[in-house]
């Protein structure tokens, strides 16, 4: 009998990539969909919120502020990107502004509800954490010197 917890990639979703349809249905129970108009603030620097967010449609600008209050765009994220994964894992605060460039449809996974679900379902948790690890490693790869 195969007992090993081998992670097979089943789709391209940044959070669901290792999950089967039943597991996706389970995690969808905590998902909240929200729509933003273009140029709307989605996340602001300093917020303590730890919700995880997935960009389902549209594009956003990631912006930082210097000590003079000058705002600089450091990246643009598009459909299929995760937002807020660092603060989900390690509690700090939001370190960048996220502003919609187009109309945006996003999925929120509220921190407390998601943690409660994952605490009850270790297999689901392992698959979500492994998916997060892929996203984190991709982020790390972009930051490393050539």
């Amino acid at each position: 009998m195969e007992n090993r917890m081998i992670l097979h990639k089943l789709n391209e979703h940044p959070l669901y990539c290792y999950m089967n349809p039943q597991e996706i249905a389970s995690i969808e129970k905590v998902r909240i969909e929200q729509t933003f108009i273009a140029h709307e603030s989605i996340i602001a620097i300093g917020e303590r919120n730890r919700d995880l967010m997935c960009l389902d449609e549209g594009s956003v600008s990631i912006q930082v502020e210097d000590t003079q209050g000058t705002i600089t765009e450091v990246a643009r994220l598009h459909e299929g990107s995760l937002i807020g994964e660092m603060n989900y894992i390690i509690p700090t605060r939001r370190t960048a502004n996220v502003v919609s460039l187009t109309e945006v449809v996003a999925s929120y996974y509220p921190y407390a509800e998601l943690c409660a679900l994952l605490a009850q379902q270790p297999i689901l948790a392992a698959k979500l954490f492994a998916a997060l690890n892929i996203q984190l490693q991709m982020k790390l790869r972009r930051m490393l010197p050539a």
């Binding site: 390690i90 297999i123 392992a126 690890n133 984190l136 490693q137 050539a146």
Partner: protein, 132 residues
Amino acid sequence: MNIYIRQQDNDLFKYLSDEEYQTLKAKCIVRKLKLGEELTHQEISGIVMLESGILQRLSPNKTACGQLFPGEIDFELSEALPYTLKAVTASQISILSYIQKEQLTDPLLCTKLEAAINDALCLKIIRLTHGE
């Protein structure tokens, strides 16, 4: 995230109970490194846990991109990142091979390891952001 409580010093095994820790520790290979010895991801093929000494991450053009201190981990995933690890002092590492990790059958144990890797990768990103 606030699901598991840290119970061990080692960053990979941090969320394991003493019993789980001993079980996994027994599956690890211990290796001593001489000063200047360099490790590649391909050669190690597992998660590196530094037990003593200091390792330096070196990019392909030999740019330093972070250090590893005792208790910390590297080569977290089987997909390689573009750097090697060089011993800047005589060091000792433990290695949990990716194959050994794949053969684990306890979902909670797997989850705790993945959660620990989440933390390690996040910290690595934060340290790079801060120029460490």
